[in-house]
Symmetry: C2
Subunit: 145 residues, 2 copies
């Protein structure tokens, strides 16, 4: 798979929201975020919708609509974001069924499954160690601010 930038875009969006709220804003719109990410607002709305279902953010509709964080930036980890996006495993099994006759072909998937599960666990653990607050701090700190 091409490596996937969904986590990057989603984290960028939440970091923008966090900064916006810190500056006193109540709500953030998809258009504001799209301006920073330089993409189409619908792309942002799609990601936001998934994060809303996961309880990371909440939306307000009607006039004066937008999103707000549902948790403090310290309480949202990159793992939470990745899980919200329904991220798939790092490695996949064969796209097509291998030979039913060959013993290697029959046994290779059960043999690899636990290894791949451990890999995904390791990814989750690593992502869990970084919060949205960490990302925002490092993001703003780049300029020496």
């Amino acid at each position: 798979m091409g490596a996937n930038s969904r986590l990057t875009i989603a984290t960028h969006a939440l970091a923008w929201m966090a900064l916006n709220e810190r500056s006193g804003a109540e709500l953030t719109t998809s258009e504001q975020i799209a301006g920073s990410v330089k993409t189409n607002p619908v792309v942002i709305r799609r990601l936001m919708s998934e994060m809303g279902k996961a309880g990371l953010i909440s939306s307000q509709r009607g006039a004066n609509a937008g999103w707000r964080l549902a948790k403090a930036p310290e309480a949202i980890s990159l793992r939470d974001i990745n899980d919200a996006l329904g991220a798939e495993a790092a490695f996949a099994m064969h796209r097509n069924e291998p030979s039913a006759i060959c013993p290697v072909a029959r046994g290779i998937r059960p043999a690899l499954a636990p290894v791949y599960a451990r890999v995904d666990d390791a990814v989750s653990r690593e992502l869990a160690a970084t919060s949205l607050a960490d990302v925002l701090r490092d993001t703003l700190g780049v300029d020496g601010a």
Copy 2:
């Protein structure tokens, strides 16, 4: 990206070779492996070519051609295979440059880069813990053999 099955196919191929050699064979051909994986021999040859460049296997050309493992199955880890395939990072940055004006957009990539690097390290560590010999053992053990 769709999750990528290249590591699965490459590992399947090497496991097949290891079993073939254990059964007394000197050489293994792409057609034999393709039969077990149920794919086109060229797909196998492409993967084998990359693993050959990484020194995991060696090829013999001419009549009576084929591949043989260049190391013992105990000395080849899934990490070696993954590295040989030039695996890309689990997560990618934005496909397009984000806004040059916005401080979040400017700082988010340097902030995420070390996190993503740690994730890739964790993946490598996890893959390094399993050898081709482990995979072959578990593969054949599935039937209780």
